[in-house]
């Protein structure tokens, strides 16, 4: 099968996300209902979910989700994992056959911790070690693909309508404090499961709706720092940008939003001095990571969700709150489908980051 990454693959989409800031866990059922409302924004060529807080019993282990095209690929990937990680538990991910979901690969899950001696010898920070191992599997082992690699979180995705993918994985049986989901409308896809979204790297997951015009400028820049954009999708490059700015440069998410969806110079000029100085500095430091063209993304990470639109708001995105719950979706209907009477409904401006975090991480109601 032609894997994605042989060509660039833009797509239109639907996104939705929910978080319970008190940390109370909910099943994935709500997300399935939410994304199903936006059925027409997908075309059956990709759907997926990310759940946070779903593996409390293995929360100290990296949860790897892998697709295998063949037993050989599985053997090779497991041998690789065995050489680099202690595997606490592994099993096939349970799925429910549906007539509308076909051609699924073998789907396995591994809870792993880096082998201490290997890690020490690598002179790498633990997370960097994991990232490099994931990249090696994805690039070097033909037919094996790691599509989720964070702690106490997991991505579930495939080719089909998102609500079908959710039922296929039985997400109503998982419970997490935050969920995001994605329905895909690609204009160019071979129907490869790895190409569905969310795209994840460690505990970052990104769902995105749009087609960015800055793609190659962003890609060629971020590849200088060891990332390899193998899928050639917007979501992939945005994830790498966030990872680079947060994990490697130490920026806050608010600062990240001022880099990738920077305010116009004319807007910055009208801001109070301190903001003006900081935002100018960020634009001057990372001009090649400015993302232009339409996008609405939900970034999932341990303890929170961030919603962000492109600077002109060329894609719809709505936020809402109800008590401890906070919602983000492409369309308001996707929120009202699971919460008919939210306390507040709010359409963030272009480039305005909306961050919802667990109270114990400093999140506010």
């Amino acid at each position: 099968m032609i894997r994605e990454g042989i060509f660039r693959n833009p797509s239109g989409c639907a996104v939705s996300g929910v978080i319970d800031r008190s940390g109370k866990r909910m099943s994935g059922e709500c997300m399935i209902r939410s994304i199903a409302t936006m059925h027409d924004r997908s075309n059956g060529l990709g759907g997926g979910f990310a759940g946070y807080g779903i593996y409390p019993h293995y929360k100290d282990f990296y949860a790897f989700h892998l697709f295998f095209d063949s037993k050989m690929a599985k053997g090779a990937a497991e041998a690789f994992l065995g050489r680099h990680f202690e595997i606490a538990y592994s099993s096939e991910i349970q799925t429910h056959k549906l007539p509308s979901v076909t051609d699924e690969p073998m789907i396995w899950r591994y809870f792993c911790a880096p082998l201490p001696r290997k890690l020490a010898d690598s002179h790498l920070d633990e997370r960097e070690y994991v990232v490099r191992c994931v990249n090696r599997i994805n690039v070097q082992i033909d037919g094996a693909y790691v599509f989720s690699s964070g702690k106490n979180m997991g991505i579930f995705k495939g080719v089909g309508f998102p609500e079908d993918i959710g039922r296929f994985y039985g997400l109503d049986e998982y419970e997490g404090y935050a969920w995001t989901c994605h329905g895909r409308y690609p204009t160019n896809t071979p129907g490869w499961w790895g190409g569905a979204h969310p795209f994840g790297l460690l505990d970052f997951s990104v769902v995105h709706n749009g087609e960015i015009s800055s793609y190659d400028a962003n890609r060629r820049y971020i590849e200088m720092f060891g990332y390899k954009c193998t899928l050639q999708t917007d979501t992939e490059v945005i994830t790498y940008i966030v990872d680079y700015l947060v994990r490697k440069c130490g920026l806050t998410l608010k600062e990240v939003s001022h880099v990738i969806a920077a305010s116009f110079w004319s807007t910055i000029a009208d801001k109070p001095e301190e903001d003006r100085e900081q935002e100018t500095l960020l634009r001057r430091m990372f001009p090649s990571l400015l993302v232009t063209g339409p996008f609405s993304i939900i970034l999932g990470y341990t303890g929170g969700l961030m919603a962000l639109n492109d600077r002109l708001k060329l894609r719809s995105m709505v936020c809402a709150e109800k008590g401890d719950l906070a919602f983000i979706a492409s369309e308001e209907c996707a929120i009202r489908a699971i919460e008919p009477s939210p306390d507040t409904v709010y359409a963030p401006a272009g480039g305005e980051a909306v961050i919802y975090e667990l109270y114990d991480r400093g999140g506010r109601a």
Partner: protein, 502 residues
């Protein structure tokens, strides 16, 4: 024996229109036109004509035109007229052939073999008349260490940068090679546009120190006009290692062009030839360059970016990589079609490579090595239009230098005779009677018009691509497609062929 060599052009005068007002005669520094009193009419020595169109433009009755001569030797595809004439001229004089301005030979122009993308359906084009469309760029190093103050705010750890309102600057043209009025026009236009002009290697005339914040001063192998005040006045300092029109050789300003003012500005005796050596005699290797970069930074207390300008040559990528590690903030690359006030014809027409290819390979190499952020890239030689600027930026340039286009805006007809010092348009001359023909009040306006017009066009093309900041266009090679290119050319340019989808 001196063989007569027929001029390339002939003056054609319509006798029905000519009123023998003798304007053409007064305007022509080449002394082509003369009044035959016995015949009572104007005549012309066509052999002296450089086809600068001054007389054509100023003739009040439009009685004049210049045509390519149809005088010819026996037709020969190998030995064409120009080639034969050049042999005769050299046999006559024993000298090196001199030329001016850029390489006119029919080499491929890769700008014209690249096409720009536009948005349709899946993402929207953006209308620059209705939405902000940013063309501002900062040039310089962008490598930073993230440091925070006690309040957690980011500290400004950036090296000094240049702020440009449009990604276009006026490239180096020295006072001496061009006139006082041309320099004044460039300086005032740069100030009004929020960009920079470049002194070239001729020092900075004392009258122009007031434009310092829009001035890049050049330090070249002759070190003419350089002293502490010169460096301190400028916004940035450019070390000129080479020039696209004449890679591998120095410069030569004939003594005839060195009048009192030029002599003072260059700090050299009046009437004596000003010769810049081919190499900097303190730079025989890359580690020497590093020393000069840091000497200049020390002298200016690390407050100004340092640019290193090289000619586009075969090994440009590796050279640029060395420069990026030498402490330079900006690399300027000058393509082999770049202009000059004087260059040996053989050098101009045969040495160096096209800027498009040099830029593509330099940008790719710096990225492969992970040092693209250590330097900005400015390209010139030759950028002819806003479309060239857009394509250059999409290939990976941060900004463009324009020289020839700027002179055209001032009225230069591209007659390629600058080295003769008799520019009828007051641009490439020091003769006071000619210099005064260029009015800087008008000249600077025309430069402002040109760059403003280009900026509008850049914004239109960016908007069409759905890009609203020039930063998102830089290095965005997916926005380009090749047409009429070989596989090798496509791979050097790092672009796909027209019709190849994403």
């Amino acid at each position: 024996m001196e063989l007569f060599v027929h001029g390339d052009y002939e003056v054609v005068r319509n006798p029905d229109l000519c009123i023998a007002c003798r304007v053409c005669e007064r305007q022509c520094a080449n002394e082509v036109h003369w009044y035959d009193e016995t015949a009572g009419k104007m005549k012309a020595y066509s052999d002296k004509c450089v086809n600068c169109h001054r007389c054509v433009c100023l003739c009040p009755t439009h009685a004049l035109k210049i045509v390519k001569t149809d005088d010819t030797y026996k037709i020969n595809a190998n030995w064409n007229n120009a080639t034969i004439n050049e042999v005769y001229k050299q046999a006559n004089s024993g000298g090196v052939l001199l030329s001016s301005m850029g390489n006119p030979k029919p080499y491929p122009v890769f700008w014209d073999k690249m096409l720009v993308n536009a948005s349709q359906v899946t993402n929207p084009p953006i209308d620059p008349l209705r939405e902000p469309m940013e063309t501002k760029v900062w040039l310089g190093k962008r490598t930073v260490k993230i440091e925070r103050d006690e309040k957690g705010r980011l500290k400004n750890t950036l090296a000094p940068q240049l702020e440009l309102s449009v990604p276009v600057m006026f490239s180096a043209m020295s006072y001496g090679s061009i006139s006082y009025n041309a320099h004044e026009s460039l300086a005032r236009a740069a100030e009004e546009l929020g960009i920079y002009y470049n002194t070239g290697e001729g020092g900075l005339h004392k009258d122009f120190y007031k434009y310092g914040k829009n001035t890049i001063v050049q330090v070249a192998s002759g070190r003419f006009g350089g002293f502490k005040g010169y460096l301190e006045t400028a916004a940035a300092i450019e070390i000129k290692m080479g020039q696209g029109a004449k890679p591998g050789i120095g410069g030569h300003l004939p003594g005839a062009k060195i009048n009192e003012d030029v002599s003072q500005t260059r700090m050299i005796p009046r009437g004596v030839d000003a010769i810049s050596p081919a190499p900097h005699h303190d730079i025989y290797s890359i580690e020497d360059l590093r020393q000069l970069v840091y000497s200049l930074k020390e002298a200016t207390e690390y407050k100004k970016p340092v640019i290193v300008k090289i000619a586009a040559v075969h090994n440009a990528a590796a050279i640029a990589s060395g420069i990026a590690r030498s402490g330079a903030d900006i690399i300027a690359i000058d393509g082999f079609r770049g202009g000059t006030g004087a260059a040996p014809t053989r050098i101009r027409d045969n040495v160096g490579i096209p800027i498009e290819l040099a830029l593509a390979s330099v940008d790719a190499r710096l990225r492969e090595e992970g040092i693209r952020d250590d330097v900005s890239i400015v390209v010139g030689g030759s950028i002819r239009s806003s479309a060239d600027v857009v394509k250059a930026i999409a290939l990976g340039a941060d900004a463009c230098y324009i020289g020839t286009a700027a002179l055209l805006a001032l009225g230069c007809p591209l007659c390629r005779s600058c080295h003769e010092g008799k520019c009828n348009w007051g641009i490439a001359t020091q003769r006071p009677d000619l210099v005064k023909r260029l009015n800087p009040d008008i000249g600077y306006k025309r430069l402002v018009n040109l760059v403003t017009a280009w900026n509008h066009e850049i914004q239109e093309m960016m908007g069409g691509m759905g890009i609203n900041s020039v930063e998102a266009l830089r290095g965005n090679r997916l926005m380009l497609r090749g047409i009429g290119l070989t596989d090798t050319e496509l791979s050097v340019l790092g672009i796909r062929y027209a019709g190849q989808s994403l």
